[in-house]
Amino acid sequence: MHWWLPLKASTFTGPIDGLFLAILIITGIAFVLVEVGLIWFVVKYRQRPGRKAFYTHGNTRAEVIWTTIPAVTMVALGLVSNHYWVQIKGRNSIPPNAYPIGIHAKQFEWQITYPGADGKLGTGDDFTVRNQLHVPVGRPIMVQLSSEDVIHSFYVPQFRVRQDVVPGMDIKAWFQATVPGTYELGCSQLCGLGHYRMRAQVFVQTQDDYDAWMKQAAQEASQ
């Protein structure tokens, strides 16, 4: 069993997992300080006959220190996080040459539209497949998300990509898969009775394998 974040299978895992680890270290230090401190105090300062508590209302210097350090840390964290946020989700984050795939979510399946041989969505050679997302490895993929009915959410844990799919909105998200293999796409926003089974298979393939699949799938779809 894999006790950490899932297998790293996209270019997002670097920044996201790195940020996760950094936060874990920072919060880990705070955690140890507080919990060990509490245990220490609980033992050391427990009531004993003849003891009296130290009468004080506080210490301004200490407070300034323990306000400033968290504040500075949070600001730094914010700057770093925002840098990656803009790269991943920003308005201009989608690489211009990203390969487009249309994903239409509905209760309770994923209808995935491929651009066909011409590589463009919205043209005559597009075809739609249910619950199977094939992507070529090593290329930026842009998914155009739309919903038939309620809010769903596009989530592939190994890609570290998540984007809510909202009816009435056309939302674009992107990712670049790095490891060929089979993964799962899960709906990550309660969408009704069948939410738990709104699952699709994700196949990350080499460009050749992908092209071969595409040819065959287009043929099957046209029948």
């Binding site: 968290p70 009435g168 899960g186």
Partner: protein, 588 residues
């Protein structure tokens, strides 16, 4: 309020000629109203717990008939096997009952009502009849919500967050009148909160005893005051949203239905604009009461009282501008994601300050580990975990990975259970003598505390890990996903821990009820505390004081060099104390 003053009674001259109904049922006495909230909210806490037990059964033992499941209707759990449509009702109603009918009323309905007049030194609330209405509208809301479990097609099932358009359309959710009853119930809850806040705010501003200046108020009162302001301003937005949702459901409006021009995200913005201040409503009173208890248990003044006040105010103020952190991946403009991230990270700072100040209070104290103190220290230990896990979510790229997973479920339960509920166990035990004139059993209180602490961590800590692995929320059957199947043993572990956790709460419930009749009779000031309420007999009489006390000092003068005892009540006049400059009535 001349009538209140006229009916104020001293302990000895007890001439209370109210009828039984006026005394205990339709009472305007803030203490009775607080106790009414207590009994009803504890009932709803039990309901919320039972709903969670059924969820955990399905997650731990999917597809197996649940013990006792035979009582459930065939449409929800045939043969005791929970169906998906029932599971999502359980999820929704567990959250709904716990937030609106257990934790919020336990913290605010009980303690704002019970403590405020006692701790500021007045006879009752500014508007006792409106206060009474605040309880009855709450009860009506609760009964309406409870009834929704029993109607055709069952209860609401779009999560306690009720996202539209799933919640707005019956053809999407499968529920019908149950969804509408949710909205109606919430409208009553909103009204109850507003009526309560009205009282708490007016009373604290205007009816404090002579000498009770703002910076001599106990932190419990400060937190309840600030919470009341949050509630006053946030609940109306929820009421508005619930009304619009109800109209979408029954009169064909289209606020949240994109198919007819409405906006799905509008619901989220309205809901979370309320929802984020709401979670601060769910924690601030707990923090306030924990401060009182830790100072008492440490026999030391609160470390940095003024900063603690400013931290409460800062948390409340910042709480209005962070709501979008629930919506980072919602499809809202990513630039808003950046701004909400900043405000969210900033709000971590006052919470950190409070944590360090609690530790500073315990440092070099003379610690007494009565049951409330155990809970208060555990609060600090558990709240810290919840707060720190929040930082992961505040960092927007990381939130992409953990949003809507069990990592979030872990976070919210660490702050709401490890935080608020532990604080409540401590607070109920602490003020029980003043409410009922008896003490809860100390040994059983300790047993309950330790077992709860252990089973609670066993239940919720592993959720951080399954959340990291990608386990999504609200899944009826996670095993549909191959990558989640290896975690089934962990789900079983969590479920069994949860069952043990629930069973342990029976100790608290029995202790609570049994002690009402058979508990040791309580002395006036069993915890040797400084607050004004401890100048009254246990239980406190109707009208509290015949003559309101005078306040000579702050609330945390423990181990003061001025006296031999290690506590010095606010109301005790020392030879060196001067009378406060009484604020004259206008014209005098």
């Amino acid at each position: 309020m001349t009538s209140v003053a006229a009916t104020a009674h001293g302990a000895q001259a007890h001439h209370d000629d109210r009828s039984f109904v006026r005394k205990y049922i339709f009472s305007t006495d803030h203490k009775i109203i607080g106790i009414q909230f207590l009994f009803v909210s504890l009932f709803f806490l039990l309901v919320g717990g039972l709903l969670a037990m059924q969820m955990r059964w399905q997650l731990g033992f999917p597809g197996k008939p649940m013990p006792g499941g035979g009582v459930l209707p065939e449409t929800m759990a045939p043969g005791g096997v929970i169906l998906p449509e029932y599971y999502i009702q359980l999820v929704t109603m567990h959250g709904t009952f716990m937030v609106f009918f257990a934790i919020m009323p336990l913290l605010v309905g009980v303690f704002a009502n019970f403590l405020i007049p006692l701790k500021i030194g007045t006879h009752d609330m500014a508007f006792p009849r409106i206060n009474m209405w605040s309880f009855w509208t709450f009860l009506i809301g609760g009964l309406v919500m409870l009834s929704s479990l029993f109607v055709p097609d069952g209860a609401a099932r779009a999560g306690w967050t009720m996202y539209a358009p799933l919640s707005a359309r019956h053809d999407y959710s499968g529920a019908s009148i149950g969804q509408e009853l949710w909205s109606v119930s919430i409208i009553f809850v909103g009204l109850s909160s507003i009526l309560g806040s009205l009282n708490y705010i007016t009373t604290i501003i205007n009816n404090r005893a002579p000498g009770m200046t703002w910076f001599r108020l106990p932190l419990s009162v400060w937190s309840l005051f600030i919470t009341a302001i949050l509630g006053l301003l946030a609940l109306p937005v929820l009421s508005g949203a619930a009304i619009m949702l109800l109209f979408d459901q029954i009169i064909g409006t289209h606020f949240f239905d994109p198919a007819a021009g409405g906006q799905a995200l509008l619901w989220q913005h309205l809901f979370w604009f309320f929802g984020h201040p709401e979670v601060y409503i769910l924690i601030l009173p707990a923090m306030g009461m924990v401060s009182d208890i830790i100072a008492n248990g440490s026999r030391k003044p609160i470390f940095g009282y003024h900063s603690m006040v400013f931290a409460i105010v800062a948390i409340a103020f910042l709480g209005w501008i962070v709501w979008g952190h629930h919506m980072f991946v919602s499809g809202m403009n990513p630039t808003l994601g950046s701004s909400f991230m900043v405000s969210t990270l900033v709000i971590a700072v006052p919470s950190a300050v409070k944590t360090f100040n609690w530790m500073g209070t315990m440092w070099r104290g003379n610690l007494r580990f009565h049951v409330p103190m155990l809970h208060a220290v555990a609060f600090v230990a558990m709240f810290v975990i919840g707060g720190l896990s929040g930082i992961f979510m505040a960092a927007t790229p990381v939130d992409m990975q953990i949003h809507d997973t069990y990592f979030i479920v872990a976070h919210l339960h660490y702050v709401l259970f490890g935080g608020s509920l532990f604080a409540l166990f401590g607070a109920i035990t602490y003020w029980y003598p003043k409410m009922f004139g008896r003490l809860m059993s100390e040994p059983w209180g300790k047993v309950h505390f330790w077992l709860t602490f252990i089973f609670y961590n066993c239940t919720f800590f592993p959720m951080h890990i399954t959340g990291m692995a990608g386990e999504m929320r609200r899944l009826y059957d996670p095993n549909q996903y191959t990558f989640l199947q290896p975690w089934q043993p962990m789900r079983v572990f969590i479920s069994i821990s949860a069952f043990l956790l629930f069973a342990t709460q029976l100790i608290f419930f029995v202790n609570f009820w049994w002690s009402l009749w058979k508990g040791q009779k309580a002395p006036q000031n069993p915890w040797e505390d400084n607050g004004l309420e401890w100048s009254l007999p246990s239980p406190a009489p109707h009208g509290n004081w015949e003559k309101v006390p005078t306040v000579y000092r702050g609330p945390y003068e423990f181990s003061s060099p001025q006296v031999a005892e290690d506590y010095l009540p606010q109301y005790k006049k020392l030879p060196t104390d001067r009378e406060p400059a009484r604020v004259p009535l206008a014209g005098h």
